[in-house]
């Protein structure tokens, strides 16, 4: 007998049929744009690897370009796993080291200025990340703190005031926007479309930078829960090393999980909470499945609703404020 609610609700009964539907849709949409292939940024993570594999099936590997765009804060295995993703899909890659661009626009300097205002001893050789408190363990509003590691191994943690928080985010957003700029360069050069790599959780909850990784011509997996992306990864033959890599933001110089930066829970639990919100499953039923209390699940539900309000701006196209024409 199957339980009423649990991970099985997200299980794709026929992954091959799902792949077929997605690749058909990719061909249809790219054809509609009168382009002839796809460009995507490869991070070595599960989402971009799956999109690369789908694109190779949809357009043929020769019509897909993977762009590798590491920078000084990227983790040590980003480049190697990105190359592995490309070779497993059989696609061509180009390496674009973006540190010089980010240096030139002041990405690191502007970010570190803000860190230094909060932690005055912060300077060269330090590592840092920004983190959120757990939504499960506390009812408090989720306010960002900076966690910094000094060269001699001391750890500091301070809440980020508004101005500093905004400057840190604005500066680090250069990373996603620089990458997207380069993806569009190659897409324009080759007459390809840019393929976005958000999954449903990221797309729904606004886990992307507007006009950065949120920008794309086609988003092939934005309807799939992250758990389902893993299921497709297996069906597509994505290497085990990529499938077993914990999701990371790969944006700050200290390792940062997606739960620390954005989501309330690990992705598999977030998937189930998002599904529950959209299908009217009550918190009590979800709690039993996730090993949480109903009160904790209610807090996650509220966090989901709050992020949807915030992400409306991220999704919005520029708006006209007056309809029609104006004249005498």
């Amino acid at each position: 007998m199957t339980d009423a609610f649990g991970p099985h609700v997200l299980h794709l009964a026929d992954p091959e049929a799902a792949i077929e539907a997605i690749t058909d849709g990719m061909r249809r949409e790219v054809r509609a744009f009168r382009r002839k292939g796809g460009v995507l940024g490869l991070s070595g993570g599960i989402d971009s690897t799956v999109v690369a594999a789908l694109a190779a099936r949809a357009f043929g590997p020769g019509n897909v370009l993977g762009v590798l765009m590491p920078e000084t804060d990227s983790s040590e295995d980003t480049l190697r796993l990105s190359a592995l993703a490309a070779s497993s899909a059989g696609i061509t890659t180009v390496l674009e080291e973006i540190t010089p661009i980010l240096d030139a626009v002041g990405c690191y300097r502007r970010r570190d200025e803000a860190f230094k205002r909060v932690i005055p001893s912060f300077g060269p050789g330090w590592k840092a990340k920004i983190v959120l408190p757990s939504v499960v363990e506390s009812e408090s509003f989720r306010l960002f703190s900076v966690v910094a590691l000094s060269p001699d191994g001391r750890t500091f943690k301070e809440r980020l005031p508004l101005e500093d928080y905004l400057q840190v985010v604005a500066a680090t957003n250069f990373k996603q926007r620089t990458r997207k700029m380069l993806e569009y360069y190659h897409a324009d050069r080759l007459n390809y479309c840019v393929l976005g790599t958000p999954n449903r959780l990221e797309y729904d909850q606004g886990f992307f930078v507007k006009n950065g990784d949120g920008a794309a011509d086609v988003k092939p997996i934005a309807h799939l829960y992250k758990s389902q992306v893993y299921q497709l990864a297996e069906a597509l033959g994505v290497p085990e090393e990529i499938r077993s890599r914990p999701p990371t933001t790969d944006t700050y110089s200290m390792p940062q999980s997606q739960e620390e930066f954005y989501f309330s829970l690990p992705y598999d639990k977030m998937d189930l909470c998002l599904y529950a919100v959209d299908h009217g499953v009550n918190a009590g039923e979800v709690a039993g499945s996730l090993g949480l209390t109903p009160e904790q699940v209610e807090r996650v539900f509220k966090d989901i609703a709050g992020k949807r309000r915030v992400s409306a701006y991220l999704h919005a196209a520029p708006r006209l404020v007056v309809e029609g024409e104006m004249g005498a």
Binding site: E139, S140, F141, R142, L143, P161, L162, Y165, K302, R309
Partner: protein
Amino acid sequence: MPDLTTIDRDVRQFLADNFILDNGGADLGADESLTQAGVLDSMGVLELIMFVEQRFGVSIPDEDTLPENLDSVARIVAYIGRRLAQGA
């Protein structure tokens, strides 16, 4: 020390100025949830904290950043009044 009426007026004015509320924020119910009304998000809470610290000299520690203290006009006013009475 400002009285609760003054605090209430200043909080409403802050909300109206910062979150583009119609009618100067006068339509906002005292007990209405600011998060559910879409007025406050996590960034808005940071703005509110900065306002409270600068306008009233009340610093808000992490453990006080709770909905019961900050998620309605009445709760914000009561919190500020309480902290001022304690000599914050």
